[in-house]
């Protein structure tokens, strides 16, 4: 870690849709505003928010980009002048794609395991809604 930029690097296989990240970011930013973050920075709070469980290091391991991953979902906050964006674009040797294409990299099976989604639930709800519900209500209900 050299501190070149501040961003959250997420594991693409556990991201279903950019909206899932938006809900987690929304929550992380809210926690920061009211000074109730569980982790040290708002970027790590995004990782923590994404996780359905309360174990911080576990959340980092599960949702953070891994050493062997060949793709990454980057979340940047407050980058109005696109400075962080350009630093990251220069550092990552790869092809940049539309965020909505993340669905091509999703591993549905691991999403179901991590978020504990049952077939009963998926019979009345789409996977994204099931995941988003858990992220939003994590502080209140543990699954």
């Amino acid at each position: 870690m050299k501190g070149l930029f501040e961003a959250t690097l997420l594991k693409t296989s556990l991201i279903l849709d950019p909206f899932q990240v938006i809900v987690a970011v929304n929550k992380a930013v809210h926690q920061q505003k009211i000074n109730k973050m569980m982790t040290k920075t708002v970027h790590s709070e995004i990782l923590f928010s994404l996780s359905p469980r309360k174990n911080i290091s576990n959340a980092f391991k599960t949702f953070g980009m891994g050493d062997k991953d060949t793709s990454v979902f980057v979340a940047i906050l407050n980058d109005h002048d696109k400075s962080t964006m350009s630093v990251i674009q220069n550092l990552i040797k790869g092809r940049q794609v539309d965020p909505y294409q993340v669905s091509e990299l999703t591993n549905l099976q691991s999403i179901k395991e991590v978020y504990n989604l049952s077939e009963t639930e998926l019979s009345v709800s789409n996977t994204l809604d099931a995941v988003v519900s858990r992220i939003a209500s994590k502080d209140i209900v543990q699954v």
Binding site: V124, S133, S137, I140, V141
Partner: protein, 224 residues
């Protein structure tokens, strides 16, 4: 969250329509009750928001469709959830069916809906979710009502209890609501009870309680 417009005001909360990052949503805001002590007010409000969110999620996990929760803000007492678009309340649907055809035909047409409601309540009660405010306005039918895509809403008075008493009261409240909002709906309610009994193995106690509650009313007599 973008600007919000008031769509409904109840005794406990205000409902706004808004958008949440591009998606239409409903914001349910519980307002302050100035007649209560501020700290009591805050803790009651928080408790109710929490139990609502819990019930929404637990119902969905057990296969009952409820609105997706997008964001919960305990500071401003708001829940931001999915707007169920292209839907009618069961109340409006029953009224339109009864209006458009003869009594006999409407009883036949509403039968499948009664079955579906009974099955849904059985699932909730088997998982110890007591809705607390079952009315035909708190049930929505999404897209074509004939498909019976039943969505349960407003879990604001819900709680988790494995007591036949509470479940009986839940059914009693629904019975009162149906019989008083919809004329000639006796058969509709008995259809609900029938399918409830069939899908819920533990229903005998609940039905016994329902009969008891019918005799005395919703509130237990607290004498002595």
């Amino acid at each position: 969250m973008s600007s919000k417009t008031l769509i409904k005001q109840g005794a406990e909360a205000k409902l706004y329509s808004a958008t949440f990052h591009g998606r239409p949503c409903i914001v349910k805001e519980r307002f302050k009750k100035s007649y209560r002590h501020p700290s009591l007010d805050q803790s009651l409000t928080n408790q109710r928001i929490k139990s609502e969110v819990r019930a929404l999620l637990r119902s969905r996990m057990n296969g009952v469709r409820t609105p997706t929760v997008y964001f919960v803000d305990l500071e401003t007492s708001q829940i931001c959830m999915e707007e169920i678009r292209d839907s009618v309340t069961v109340r409006d649907y029953i009224m339109s069916v009864q209006k458009s055809q003869s009594l006999e035909d409407s009883i036949v047409q509403l039968k499948p809906l009664g079955r579906k409601i009974g099955e849904t309540l059985a699932v909730l009660h088997q998982n110890n979710i007591v809705h607390g405010d079952l009315t035909t306005s708190n049930m929505l039918l999404q897209s074509d009502p004939m498909n019976l895509n039943l969505v349960m809403i407003d879990f604001g008075l819900s709680h988790f209890e494995n007591l036949a008493e509470d479940k009986g009261v839940d059914l009693y409240v629904l019975e009162r609501a149906i019989l008083s909002t919809h004329p000639n709906s006796d058969e509709f309610f008995s259809e609900i009870l029938d399918s409830y009994t069939q899908s819920n193995p533990g229903s005998a106690d609940v039905i016994a309680k329902l009969d008891e509650v019918r005799m005395r009313g919703r509130k237990r007599t607290m004498v002595g």
